[in-house]
Symmetry: D2
Subunit: 344 residues, 4 copies
């Protein structure tokens, strides 16, 4: 059993708590932090968490905890990580690691110096389909990987801070691109260097400063291309698909809208359908188990399992740092309108 401090009670805090208490049903969140004490208390009540606080420093220094799970807005990740490293606790940080590669590198150095366990909570490389597909690719089922298209798109985030560059670091690229980039990198192979990025981005629909739509290509040393399509302007729910093209085969993964569960409802009782669903009558595409389908369950199984056994999780801060570096290059490319080098 691992005893956890959870920081943040927003969308991801909720998903994490469900998965942590659900899947292995032996790890426990020991203390939960929220800015507002009310929300911390309500969350603690809902998930059966013994302690709650509105002081994150108190949470991370609680002597009974083994690990801290970070589910706070992007601009807080660095400060919090440095403090937890100093406190000598294991750190499980949500995506993106930093606001940019400079921050991410600092965080990586901090955990390495402190010698604490660190995991980068990139859940989408842990979906059951992705894990199985990675195994097939590694076994040679599709030959050499030449191209990956990873797409994440919905109609826009649920909280204001996402739209504020100072708090988020950017728009759809940093918010959704971090997933797509790392999915492609897993398929292409982590040992292969990402070389340069070409990216288009625009604000096509929402009254915001950050980009709400972006398409980019990451060129790897092997010649493979990792294509990311990230958008906050997609209508119809959440589009979460990957395509992998190899010299001897193809893999198509659909994680969300077309996975074998379809419902037509003319009633007004159809209830909760799925994250980011836009409608609740007519043809609907519910998701059976969201936490599993999004990879949370297998992610925590790996991350906590490796922590217990002294191993390394599939994704750690080094991976988060690489992702941030690729994102930095993407933003540069949007500005220069040319291929931008990935600086690692």
């Amino acid at each position: 059993m691992t005893r956890i401090a959870l920081l943040g009670t927003g969308l991801i805090g909720r998903f994490y708590a469900q998965s942590l208490h659900g899947r292995r049903s032996r790890d426990r969140i020991h203390v939960v932090y929220s800015r507002s004490w009310d929300r911390a208390a309500a969350f603690a009540e809902e998930f059966g968490i013994p302690h709650d606080t509105s002081d994150w420093r108190a949470a991370i220094s609680n002597p009974d905890i083994d690990a801290v799970v970070i589910g706070l807005p992007n601009h807080l990740h660095r400060e919090v990580v440095l403090a937890i490293a100093a406190a000598g606790k294991a750190i499980l940080c949500t995506k993106p690691l930093g606001i940019n590669a400079t921050e991410a590198l600092q965080m990586l150095q901090a955990v390495e110096e402190a010698g604490v366990y660190h995991a980068y909570l990139e859940d989408l490389v842990y979906t059951p389909k992705t894990l199985k597909a990675l195994k097939s690719v590694q076994a040679g089922a599709i030959g050499d990987v030449l191209w990956v298209r990873s797409r994440e798109a919905h109609s826009g985030p649920h909280s204001d801070w996402f739209w504020n560059k100072d708090l988020s670091g950017g728009g759809a690229i940093i918010d959704l691109g971090c997933h797509c980039i790392e999915i492609a990198r897993n398929f292409i192979g982590k040992q292969i260097r990402p070389v340069e990025v070409m990216c288009w981005a625009d604000t096509q629909m929402h009254p915001v400063d950050v980009e709400d739509h972006a398409i980019g290509m990451v060129r790897y040393e092997s010649g493979a291309i990792g294509q990311f399509e990230t958008s906050w302007i997609f209508r119809g729910g959440m589009d979460l698909r990957d395509e992998v093209g190899g010299s001897e085969g193809t893999i198509w993964l659909n994680h969300w809208l077309r996975t074998g569960m379809e419902m037509f409802s003319s009633s007004t009782q159809s209830g909760y359908i799925a994250e980011k669903a836009e409608t609740d009558t007519g043809w609907l595409f519910p998701v059976g188990n969201e936490g599993a389908a999004l990879g949370y369950d297998d992610m925590f199984a790996d991350v906590l399992g490796q922590m217990e056994s002294g191993g390394r999780p599939q994704e750690d801060f080094y991976d988060g740092y690489v992702v941030n570096a690729i994102i930095d290059a993407a933003y540069q490319s949007v500005k220069t309108r040319q291929w931008a080098p990935v600086e690692l």
Copy 2:
């Protein structure tokens, strides 16, 4: 933590062990039984099980165990259940409960008299999609349920005993129909009485005595129809689909061949694809996490959770008995070529 004796190391024994040791990762199989001591030992080694035996009576009377999971051929279920009830242990029995309703009723009476916890391991009502769909139906998303079609079909079982009526109780109807019947019954509503069955069955392809293909209709008191399609002659893998028709909506579930994971492989390295897959080159339809997709994970979470908390699992021996009674009526209908009453 629950300590378990597992009886049987065949296909289902393996699935159960993976799920028991995987999903919650806190329950442990304490002793495993197989007819052949060699196989018991190998299985124990593979799954890290401390004890193995070729004497099932020894296994169930081990004082350290809380529950027995039965994964033996159909004709052994009754004898074993009666012995475990006498030993006062919790019993988790695979499907079908008995070879016929007479057996099943005896087993039900035995566990009730002994006052032991009993669960009927009908995994397919626990697939994440089914659980979510049941919730939607209960919330009124599709109005009154009028029709359910549940289909399970593949090219035939892997062990000889399935083809021997004395050991199995019958062919595709008892082997696969038990799933389809109970899925329909869950959607239609367990409080509604199944009244009569009309069934066609034939041996169309395999050189066996039992039926390798059957289609039946169960009429419920509400007028709803539960249609089951079971076949050992289906080519292309495993076809596992449910359709639910209501007065205000429709639900389509596909659990296996078309669930958003598609692979084309021209290589000979595609590896393991999925249970009952017939091919490993060309277009393939792997399954991300079979144990989850087939409901094993959520089934054991419910069954062990209810056992711990003193509740009732979604499926217990009473449900298994009802299923056996419907199957008996199906076989009778095949013979009489008329609708046959369900005797409960």
Copy 3:
């Protein structure tokens, strides 16, 4: 060029006119009949038809026409066919041929005695997918055909006469079953005799006397089963699917709701989606070319082509008669609750 008299300006009259004037764009409807002269005139105007009438006897005796296409309600087919045969014109009759096999046999004898060309307009065996699938089956792609499931379901017909047994001959079985039965018969092989039928039918939802839902099985001499599922209670549009199971393969055809065209619309401008579509916002499944998808185009190409070249169409009155005989057996089975023999 063929000159045609079209009888009927309802749903099917419209589909036929679009296909006749569209596909080959060389055949012309020369005269159109509708009970109401107004409707005949409006239809003639819309489709550029030179003559219109409210007297069907006048239409069929027009000396300039080569063929009569019948698109009238079921109870009128016989009277009209007998008159056209007497007038010595080619007859293209919509489905079902008669209200029952007795009528159909009379019609068959009439055209044979008169020596006129006769085609049974069973469009669904002419969908491009079905034609291609039939070719594959005949080439041996799936071995021996053992089972066909053909399903046609929607939420109910558009005209009152369908619900009146005297005018229609019955409910969903005769209206939709005629398609499903003949599709299965084409796959199983027309040279193989249908032996007997088992059928369930009920009026589950609509306030009518005829059945609004029926499921049946036709057993052929070869042992193959043709399963038909016909329903006026299906919610979500029109469900038009066939599954063919052979000893060496499987074919799945989806003709309507999942054919590669998907649209999400939050606007109120989505326009016409497809026949029997229930919704026009949210996720929608339009059909590109309905006339082609439903088989009308290839049907008329065959029927008019064979007429020109002196051949036989894929479906003629003999086929319509067999279908009526199977339907009669289905209705008998519903009454006797037993398998009913097909009397040919």
Copy 4:
């Protein structure tokens, strides 16, 4: 009836002949040209064409013909078009119009000066799904079009000349990109100017000089992006999909591999599956009517219909010229590694 001279008896010549003689079944190919007289004669025999020749100048100056259909390799289009324009015949030219925009402009000017009817045979904007989708978009079903992804990919062309830049003008971009670019342009709106292109291209798999894989983005004046994905390295058949993203909706079109027709065959008799299919056992995805699915039928109905009625086809040489200009910019961008302006 239109009397046609067909130049070329390769893959496209065959598709064109099938559609011209099939769909309307009233137009006739009057003379067919092939370099080799043998092949011309065999083709004429097969399709019932009265005249054949190995001299294309003879074919186009045949006094009985109304129109010439060009199905020759790319480098011959210009010379042939100029000659036909001089001969005063209507010209229907396959894609791409020219090897580059300079050629295309010359061809456009030639037909305009000669005053002859000209059509650009871009079939994929005429698929039934695309026509219906265009209608929906024009009606406002998905609001403002912001993004189109059009993808055409297979494992490589069937004739050597495609791989030779002098004869083809380039690789996957000019061969497949012409389709994708014009599909996007139709959805975004032909009245909106394409401004600039960013494109990546590489030779990833085949031992050729031209690119076998390319991904590009065309930015339109409205801010919309037309994304094209063209590849000769795709494994599994032919991938032909379009996605259209609008401010109020989404459209997904799948034209080939997942259109509702699925076959599993363990036999060796599965026969012809579909253009570019790689396998003929296991799971297969046949196409019902290829000529219709690829748009040939509706294309010729429009092109010949407009010619007869004095109208303009959906696509004429001006469109072909725009496509060539966008392709030129794509090739420039590949070289400069920057956005390249579209010069019109």
